[in-house]
Each structure stands twice: as structure tokens, then as C-alpha cells.
Symmetry: C2
Subunit: 366 residues, 2 copies
């Protein structure tokens, strides 16, 4: 895995696996994800598209407006004085597990392992409260409306700032927040200080950081992040040949799972080994996880451990491994009985999104 | 496909593909599903577990009760005098496409082709209205409550009547109805006359016919249909060895699609052929359908035609077929970017539920 020189980065940012220094893109080693069900902010992956803005909380303003509201400008103190909600939610990059897709054929983008994911308590006002304060009338809610976010970070090498949008129904859902607090502490700069959206169940791209403004409008954001990027295309489609209306806009994240322990390439003692990992599905419960010690020929059912709506499920399983080389594998099943594809080939795509095949980890047992 | 002697059946019931005469289990040929987006009642699959009760609408009563309500007994006229809602919903048997799983290895149950599915307008009061009329207080809604249905049909060869249950949250959802009317006409006897539940997005097993009573309770129905049957188990699990708490209770149906035209084994003229079918996902939109004329090596994107929430999506595609034997294939993608498994092997299960692999149809082109 490419690991760029991390000098000049703060120590906490340098100790992650750094895919890119600027824009800063980094993920934790997988065993760090299993340290606790809520991921520490310093272990939480960072996906950024440009600079990490340095924003003064004392002068910060969030602008809220659009066709259906009056204009509203809120200070951070005013946002913190609104009714506050805490939601435990997993955020996950659309490119999580891209490395597994890259093993099939070349893809664009950073080669994320399975660590571009994390779970935290997010605290702030519900987005619906902020929209209502800006004059949005629930009676005017209708299909076809979108809530667009514009941000302070300038996309690297481009002359525009980051922006994205979500359908109004998701914006009004009780789990969707504007968060100033992560696990009880102010957001770190790399996680969006002083304010970010948290859209549980959706890909991280729809939970913008360093929020500048929110607009209710009758179309998705026309920001290139929304209009061109982060569209899922099947294997046979070349992204160069498609228009902005092609592809599936990546919102709800599909079923996925990963083995966090043992690590890839681990040297283990023969006998009983505990396998630990996570499983997650954007909008459905994880119903079952199976673990294999022989690449998928035999399976044992994992114990499901801590879970919550919109958050990952931790799981563990005991397997017996004789001496030799072995391929561990994990696959989850969701509440609708859907499972992950066995191999990445059928969902491989040139942009490397939504890598969800059985997670496979080779180990050596002596 | 086994097609039992259908003598003694009414003509409309005999002209379906009859898997079992008693209990009556039958599906339409797939081309009938494409005659119209709403399936005619006489073309709609029938899954029954026992007799088809003959109920006198004039004396019919629905009993409603349970821990949280007062007792209520409703005549059909009283049910029809409540506020009425029409929902367009697809119902699908959990065993739809079992024939494709049986081609991998033996399975139990009728070998349904892809016709154990249909879409109709269903009319009647919302279940929440009926529960509220029986004294159910929304403020008492909490996780862990279930709405159990008991029915008039005696399960064939057993000494109990049919019953099943759904979680309270789904019972309170605006799409969940008690229907007395299908496509504008009273239910046919085989579809549950005079009253059935319609639980859109869920497997048909949770939309019981010939409803006798409804009970709000703190556990799922203990009827064997709910407690033992209709649990999904992964391929490696022998249903004989599991307890009632094992397996995934089949509720929301997974992503699926089928080619309705041309028919399996069709003899076609070389050149352009129109392929037509359906795609459906219990709780997500169908985002894309791809069609292949060469068993999945190349794909074209299908046009998505009529669709609605909780209903199937019709689709069609034009493909060019040279002379020879060809395997057509269809696969759908849902709004979360999940797709169907390429082969049935990885989701094969001994009970033959949730057959969702790419639908494949072999044709001869001259």
C-alpha cells in the first residue's frame, strides 16, 4: 500500500496510513478499528478533496436559504443553542476497499483498504430543525427537492469549493444532523471543524465537512462532486464515455464486511484463532456474518456483538487453523437476505467504488 | 416443470401453471406478467398452504385485539366504511425462482419459476387505522411489538390454521393495508376473499389471506409458519439441525429481476430482439437493469419503464442476436449499488428461498 512521506503532518495525522498528504487522505490499520465500537477521532479515516480549512469558531457563520426558506445566518453559538441530538453513526467512504477492486484491474483513486470507515457519536441540531428555523415549511416538502451543502474547502487543483446534496426526505429524517461534536469533543480540523453534515447510512461524500451554507433547491447540487463524481457504474461502462445523468448516485451504502483481526499476512500459531471484524449496511440491519478459514469452502457463523441503527455491527468467530497457508474470508447477510458477492469481478468498476466482495485475508499458520 | 392434473379446478385456476392442486399453488407463464404493469387477478400467482376457505361476506367478522387494544369485531361493511387507501404493490413468494436453485442441488418446496410475483392495486383501510380503532395508542408503540395475523385456512395436513406476524413498525407504515379489493374488484377466493393483509415490500407469506383476527403482542406469532418456516439459511446450514431462532426471518424481499420475454427455449429470428422483464427490490428503488445476449460477457443497459414505490419496475432492451444458441441474462442494480449474484450457488439454500441470481434464458436463433 502506498504510504506517502508524512513529514510536516501533525503526529496524530502521520500515524495513520497516509494515502495522500495533500489532500490529506488516510485510514487506520484495521486492528485500530476494533479497539472500540466507537472509533476514536484520531483513528477515524479522513477523506478530503483539498485543503483542511482553518476556521475561526468565533466568527464562523452558517448561511441557510433557498427557494423555500428565508435567509438565515447562524453563529456556532446559535447552532449550539438549538435543541441538540446525538446520533451514533458509521461514516464510510464510497471508495472503502478500493484496494480489493484494484487487484482485479486498474482503478482510479486512492487504494483504500477496509479502513475508510468509522463510527462515532455525532452531536448537533437535526438538519430539519435548522431548515425549520430558516422558514422551511414541512407542508411544502415534496419529491424532487434537494438540500445542497456548500463548503469552505477548495478542491485540490480545481477552482471550486466542495459541495454535495441529499434528497429532501433524507435531510428531514431524524438521523440527519449538523454536527459540531464527535464523541463528546469538538470536531478535529480534519473532521470538519467547526461544523459538518452527518447523513447516516449514506456514503461519506454526502456528509460534507467545513460547512459554509445550506440551500433547499429543486435539483441536486451542480457541484462536480455531486454532478460528475461519485456515480456508480457497472463493470462494462467506461466512465469517460458517460454523461452526468448516467450512473447511480452513491447515497445509501451497500452491505459490506471486513476482517480486522488477524491482519493480512499474520503469522499465527496453529489451533484456535479468534477472527474479529465489522459488518455494515446503509439502510438495513446486518442479520448474519459467516467466517471461513479455507477461502469459502466451509463457514462458521460469527457472533454479532454491538450494533445500532445506522452503525456498524461488530462480530467475532473462533476458527481452528492447522499449520499451513490459509485464506480467511468473511461475508455478511442483511435483513433482506442479500449477501456480498464472492469475488470482486462482477462489481469491479473503473472508479473503484463500492468494493463489497467477501473480505479475504491470507495468513500463515505454524 | 411439474404441472399437476388440474381437473376439478375452475377454468381460470386451471390455466395457470399448477404446481399443486391442493393446496392450490400456481403461477402464470412469464409472458402473462408483461401483459400489463398491474397483473390481472386471474394471472396473479397463488400460494396457499391449505384449503381455500369459502367465507360468507355477510356474516364475516374480523376480530382485533391484543395486549394494547380493546377488543373490536368488525363486519366487512364496517371495514369498507373506514377511510380507504389504495396502494399499488408487488407481492412475491419467498420461493419465487426456486426452480433456478433446484438446478444447483435439491431443494424442498414447489419449483416456482419466476412467476410467483404480481403487482396490483390493493384497496382497504390502512392497518394503522384498524389498530387505532381498536384502541391502539401510537404513544405506546415501541420496538419489540408485533402484529400477528390469524387466518381461516387450515394448513394442509396439519391441525392448525395459517398465521404470521410483522413488526409493529411495518404494521404502522402508511403502505400496509387490509385489502378487500384488488384492481378495483372484490378479492377472488384464491386471493383471500373477503379480506387479506397487504404488506408491501415483504414476502407474500407476511400478507395473509382469509384474515380472521389481528393481535398486537410482544412477540412474533408462534404459528409454525412464522416460528419455523420461511427463515433464510445460508448454503452451508442444514435446516434440520437448527432451532426456531436460527435463520433470517424473511420479511423485506431482496433485489431480483427476470426476463419475461422471450420465453425460455424460444426460437427467434436472427437480428434485433426485444427483451422484456421485471425487476424488484422490497425496500429500495431499482436503479438500473443490464441485459446480456451472451451469458454475461457483454451487457446493454435496459430502459426502465413503469415503476412505483413497493412495486416492480418494468424494463426492456434491444439486443442483436446472430444465429446460434444463446443465453440471455438479466441483472438489476438497486439504489444502494447492490446487484444480483451471477450464479445461484453462493445463495443456494435447502429450502429454496430467495433465488436471486442473474436470470438466464436460453434461446435458439436461426
Amino acid at each position: 500500500m502506498p504510504n506517502q512521506p508524512a513529514r510536516d503532518l501533525p503526529e496524530r495525522m502521520a500515524r495513520l496510513i497516509v494515502h495522500e498528504r495533500a489532500p490529506y487522505n488516510a485510514e487506520p490499520p484495521l486492528d485500530r478499528l476494533r479497539v472500540s465500537w466507537r472509533t476514536a477521532a484520531v483513528d477515524f479515516y479522513v477523506r478530503s478533496h483539498g485543503d483542511l480549512p482553518a476556521i475561526d469558531a468565533r466568527t464562523y457563520r452558517l448561511e441557510v436559504g433557498g427557494a423555500l426558506g428565508r435567509k438565515l445566518s447562524l453563529s456556532l453559538a446559535e447552532i449550539q443553542a438549538m435543541p441538540q441530538t446525538t446520533v451514533t453513526a458509521t461514516l464510510q467512504c464510497a471508495g472503502n476497499r478500493r484496494a480489493d477492486l484494484r487487484a482485479v484491474a486498474p482503478v482510479s483513486g486512492d487504494p483504500w483498504d477496509a479502513g475508510a470507515i468509522g463510527t462515532a457519536d455525532w452531536t448537533g441540531p437535526r438538519l430539519v430543525e435548522v431548515l425549520t428555523a430558516a422558514g422551511f415549511d414541512m407542508a411544502s416538502a415534496r419529491e424532487g427537492l434537494h438540500v445542497a451543502f456548500a463548503c469552505h474547502d477548495t478542491v485540490d487543483g480545481e477552482d471550486y469549493r466542495y459541495g454535495a446534496s441529499i434528497p429532501l426526505a433524507k435531510a428531514l429524517a431524524p438521523e440527519t444532523l449538523l454536527a459540531h461534536t464527535m464523541n463528546g469533543a469538538a470536531l478535529l480540523p480534519e473532521h470538519g471543524f467547526p461544523l459538518r453534515a452527518v447523513v447516516p447510512g449514506y456514503a461519506g461524500v454526502r456528509s460534507p465537512k467545513w460547512l459554509a451554507s445550506i440551500t433547499v433547491q429543486d435539483r441536486p447540487s451542480d457541484n462536480p462532486i455531486q454532478a460528475n463524481d461519485y456515480k456508480f457504474l457497472p463493470p462494462q461502462v467506461d466512465p469517460e464515455g458517460v454523461g452526468p445523468d448516467d450512473g447511480i448516485t452513491i447515497e445509501t451504502m451497500p452491505l459490506n464486511s471486513a476482517i480486522c483481526e488477524p491482519a493480512r499476512g499474520a503469522a499465527l500459531a496453529a489451533g484456535r484463532t479468534t477472527v474479529r471484524g465489522y459488518a455494515v449496511c446503509g439502510d438495513r440491519a446486518v442479520a448474519r456474518v459467516d467466517v471461513s478459514g479455507d477461502g469459502g469452502r466451509h463457514w462458521v457463523q460469527a457472533r454479532l456483538e454491538e450494533a445500532a441503527p445506522f452503525a456498524w455491527t461488530f462480530w467475532s468467530a473462533e476458527i481452528d487453523l492447522p499449520p499451513g497457508e490459509h485464506e480467511l474470508a468473511a461475508r455478511a447477510w442483511d435483513a433482506a437476505g442479500q449477501t456480498q458477492p464472492a469475488a470482486p469481478d462482477d462489481t469491479w468498476n473503473r472508479k473503484g467504488y463500492l468494493g463489497t466482495a467477501w473480505h479475504r485475508v491470507r495468513v500463515t499458520v505454524a
